[in-house]
Symmetry: D2
Subunit: 358 residues, 4 copies
């Protein structure tokens, strides 16, 4: 499945950056959920470009229209279709991009796969703009999860080589909700200034930088998930790798886990009253593919935006010759801050889909 996803809820993502509209259909949502559209719009604004000098100056209004599935603000149980019309499209000449493959982008693989018929304007269906409907869906999922006490939140873990702290074992819902209120969510409030400098520095060099995002999901009851092909990790990772530019997904301590001794890596259980907890949370709330009741914690790594203004060497698939390419236009020197809410959204969608009793 490529455009469609889900075992329980059902997603269908559509649209191209400079086509008529982008959007998403969300099937199998419970009926009777009163959606807080103001909050949804606010979540979508967290992703929207043009809010400061660190992101692209494009102004995408991202005004979402509900085409179906909502009546008087309440879900009807029928598929919820949200659509965002594309308006701020520049009708510039894209013919060069049909021939000269931008390094690090989908251009060449897509050219081969679609025999040159793919819409290359603004990245077409591969555009990061497609994450706007994802954030819509994620915001809906978050509202439903919140009614069950489940809270999703994330922070920027690093920009290039500037690192924030990691979530502690005692992370709370309040901590997560506080993070969503920060324009650049970090646990250590000092670190973002350094991050900003790194990003600004990259912009001045016509270059770009990447980073990592750490996300936590609190209050997932123990016993959710499965062994093997539908472990929580197996269920969430395809969603996370669907986010353009994500090159790594890790749970708990992730790769660092491989450098520990067993006695360090194991999270020891204890009773706190009747509640089962672990003293550490190196496994990120999941063992054997199933939740243990501790916060589910994971991290994604995002590569630097491939769109840079520096001259790069590449190929021209029409002339079949090696060539040089200079990409012009409006680019984010770093998409990590805008990707935080996208990561949260995928996490919320994935967890909601695993809950049979929604």
């Amino acid at each position: 499945m490529s455009a469609n996803w889900g075992n329980n809820i059902e997603l269908s993502l559509f649209g191209e950056s400079h086509g008529k509209a982008i959007g998403i259909v969300i099937g199998n949502l419970p009926a009777g959920v009163a959606l807080d559209m103001d909050e949804i719009r606010w979540q979508m604004k967290r992703r929207a470009p043009g809010q400061n000098k660190m992101s692209t100056p494009r102004v995408e209004k991202d005004e979402v229209q509900i085409m179906s599935g909502l009546l008087d603000g309440v879900t009807t149980g029928a598929p919820l279709c949200a659509m965002i019309e594309n308006s701020d499209q520049h009708s510039k000449d894209y013919s060069l991009l049909k021939e000269c493959m931008r390094p690090g982008h989908s251009d060449y693989p897509a050219y081969v796969k679609y025999h040159g018929y793919n819409d290359v304007r603004g990245g077409g269906h591969f555009s990061g703009r497609l994450t706007a409907p994802i954030v819509f869906a994620g915001s809906v999922a978050k509202q439903i999860l919140r009614q069950k006490g489940i809270i999703v939140g994330a922070h920027i873990q690093s920009i290039k080589d500037v690192y924030d702290d990691s979530f502690g074992v005692d992370i709370t819902c309040e901590d997560l909700q506080q993070l969503t209120k920060q324009q650049y969510p970090t646990l250590n409030s000092d670190v973002f200034l350094k991050m900003q400098n790194v990003i600004e520095d990259a912009r001045m060099k016509q270059d770009s930088v990447g980073g990592t995002i750490e996300c936590a999901i609190i209050n997932v009851p123990a016993g959710l998930g499965n062994p093997f092909f539908d472990s929580i990790e197996s269920h969430l990772s395809p969603l996370l790798f669907s986010i353009p530019a994500v090159k790594s997904v890790s749970f708990g301590m992730g790769e660092k886990m491989s450098e520990l001794y067993g006695h360090e890596a194991n999270d020891c259980y204890y009773y706190e009253g009747e509640k089962v907890k672990t003293k550490t949370n190196h496994n990120g709330g999941i063992t054997g593919g199933i939740s243990n009741g501790m916060p589910i914690v994971f991290k994604v790594a995002i590569k630097p935006t491939p769109s840079i203004s520096q001259v790069q060497s590449t190929i021209n698939v029409k002339t079949k010759e090696n060539t040089k390419l200079e990409i012009t236009g409006r680019h984010d020197p770093c998409i990590v801050p805008r990707a935080v809410v996208v990561v949260e959204s995928m996490a919320a969608i994935g967890i909601l889909d695993m809950m049979k009793d929604i």
Copy 2:
């Protein structure tokens, strides 16, 4: 889907460590494939325990029986069912494990999910032993892929903090095939002795260590994969996270990608004759979720075996009290060497499933 998997080929995994048998059903394989059973047995031996002091002294014969789908050594097109009877089971008393939850294991989440009815003997369905039928399926997949010129291979990238080199941009099929002939495949032949020392040291301390495995798939044609929910990363990662103890999956340079500048991370295209190549392969052969023709390269991180003989603190779910647990029995101080062929197998299964023309 938990036990079943696949869009194109279809897997169904069954069995418990101390049940009657473990096995796998593989549906939708092409008819007319002459399976090299000797090679399959050899691949399965790469995973089997008891071969040296670094792995568990259990002797699992892993003798695979074909129950269906093969006639005169050739696939019939009907589901191929392979079964391995469990023979070397110790009938020791497992009652303690029903009450005392081993840290780092699936015990507690499984206890909650299955209301205490799960088979805890030897880890039950969560046992690493279930990877034996996975290797069977992977070996079949490799043979089919090889007929198309596609080769899968892997090496131990690290054991604890001892690191091997990484695959270079010019890795060849011969390199990969050479690796499979090494009992402990590493690129740098000196490094395994250090790795052995780390493992042996852990064993002496009644502890365990983890590591990482890097895998490459060569000759996947450009244009395989999809944007978003069925990107190559999204397709392979659930399989890789199905391997017990895998906590991280990354493609290309993975997390390190997040520390590069865009001009460093982008892989620049060039023509070598008619063939399109990239000068570097930081993206691991995939951009926009689709293959670009370069080797697909990924890495998984494996946590240290949670079974250690040291005393650990945990809970007793029957008495609802905190307690201490000392696990006896035969354990691998490090499963990484045996996991190499499991990782290769999942990669082969995942890529084969994405090819429509099998």
Copy 3:
């Protein structure tokens, strides 16, 4: 899966009769297909109401807008989203329908399933109007199939107890294409007048009638399909039962097959030159779930429209009392003629989805 469907191509259906819009997303279509939009509009017109006195006088323009996946009239390979805005909605009072459950409709089951939150206006998501986007998708599928020489066509087999002939074993593509040009496609040209009389008679009595539709798919190569869960019958039947009011799906001679002797039912093979044919086609081109190269023939039975103006007894779920209901408004006394193209569409979608090489 409820709103989403497909193994190979991917459908996602959305919309409610009196919501903002209805539509469909079609994923995994091949890139580079030049769509004949005039033909698509003509196919959609075959389904549209308001064309004569036998169907509802509602004028639904069904003007389809392409939101994504098409560039310069050619598919891009990205999901193709088609949308039809709802315009001819009467803002009449639907409060009675929220309480009084119409017999034969989805009202009561939907009331229970959606806890009363479903949109009841015009039938909401259950409206036959949702078949308009299905016809869009089916028309696209037909165009792709036609490039492979595969032709789909159907005729009205019966209206109430007035029966047309059945397809013969030697049905041709030309026959099928001729049928699509008839406003009321029947094989026996005399029979439709009788059918018209039955429908007109039902209208005068404020009643409704049903009927059956027989469909053929010609030139499906032998060897398509699977045994068991993905037999051609198993693949097509869920699509056909998705058409509102279909209560029976049968292949070949269908139920009548159960009254034959084996020697009558078996279709005997013979070579006509190099081509394999059968002397009869009682099995409708499918044995063992797989096509044998003969026309695939099936039949669906459609119940009489449940919307009738006669007084009916029912329940009021608010007052919890038995009551009487008189449905007013514009109703089709018979939807069978309009359903012909819907049946063809589902057949085309189902067959296209089974072809790996699209």
Copy 4:
């Protein structure tokens, strides 16, 4: 999906008639279900051949072995694998069947699909013998459904042109359970003698006959199912069409519905105390794809066994010539009585899969 099936529970069917074994894997069953193996064996005996002169004299012991998922007679939550070894295989010469395609069988389509590599001995994977593991799975499903008060039962509706009565609107669980105790379940006790005569008559003529089976599922709560692609009809029909020889599936009155007026076809609701009922049940307990709380009733038509001893004309795919074929061996003149429990099993599996709260 061909060998695998299910949204919620997961089936994987394997085996060939004369291979080593046939079997099924059932994933995602609830843990903690104590299986009544005696009842399962009895249900399987209802399907087994060799019990009287009306079925094939083959003695298939169908002794089921549980390979995984059951501990001390209780489900563990891990995949339940049941296997039946093939023992009563005649090692006769099957070379003729590799060349001469039996009319009405899967031989020719399978020959094309599998390029001649399919196992033709005893029908291979297409053998009706594969329904034995289906009955195992269905028996498990029935036991779980029964704990929720849901009962499944069926009767022979017709053999050739001898018809039994149909289920009435007031069918009870007791009625259904009574039927399972009859070796040849019919509502009208007189009718089976006539049916027996028809079957015996066919045997004497070296011919075969088919028939129909009507099935009811009682106490399915209102609100189960979905509109469109996952309607109850869409969910059950692929399972029913997976049963070899089924050519028609209809719900409620089925095809006869198409001959009624709307005022006759509509099932009028009324309150009986607090319970909602309908006066008639022409819609078979389903409107809009969703259950209304009345018994779910459907019918399947089964074609006459294609294996007949009469000489038939066919093709030889090796010599590419038309030829004559005389099939020898042990054949059922009528499989309908043995298929009753198979139909019940598929119904139970399908309904269980739709219930999220299992």
